[in-house]
């Protein structure tokens, strides 16, 4: 079981009384605005939750693991998530069964 957009919209309906369409659009918009910001090379800081940062990676030599052939891995930009103190503290306490 995993949390999905549908459940998040359902919660907005239950807790805040948004109608189903508004709730769906808000959840959709929430992730879209974060993507838009990151796609324009702007980090996203959500206090209490965490930061989405951007890192530019240089080109580096790679290898096709199947054939052993050398192929360069191109320079690229990646997203990293740094959880905030509050989220880290809440998650740390989880005594999982794994």
């Amino acid at each position: 079981m995993a949390l999905t957009k549908a459940e998040m919209a359902e919660r907005l309906f239950d807790d805040l009384g948004l109608n189903k369409r508004e709730a769906k659009e808000m959840v959709e918009g929430f992730y879209e605005e974060i993507r838009n910001s990151l796609a324009s090379n702007q980090q996203v800081k959500l206090s209490g939750f965490g930061n989405f940062d951007l890192r530019d990676k240089k080109q580096r030599p790679g290898r096709n693991p199947k054939t052993g052939e050398e192929i360069p891995i191109c320079a690229r930009r990646v997203v990293t998530f740094r959880p905030g103190q509050k989220l880290k503290a809440r998650v740390e306490a989880y005594a999982g069964s794994e």
Binding site: L16, Y31, K45, V78, K88, R90
Partner: protein, 97 residues
Amino acid sequence: MTKSELIERLAARQTQLSLKDVELVVKNLLEHMAQSLAQGERIEIRGFGSFSLHYRAPRVGRNPKTGQSVKLEGKYVPHFKPGKELRDRVNESITAD
């Protein structure tokens, strides 16, 4: 972009909800996500990415001030794996600037 800027941008996308309402929406979404992770439940958002927990094994650490060693318990840390759409859009932006 900060949380309050996200709230403003989200409010500007529509006409039904006030800025105050949208603020409650964003807080509700983040709280729901944090709650879910705190209970050990993953989050899966297609096109954005997934959040899960990674286990960190117990280890012996050191107090950097005193140099004394301290036993650290095993713990869980949040982990985010970007989804394909986010990965691609972010990577394409490297050629745009």
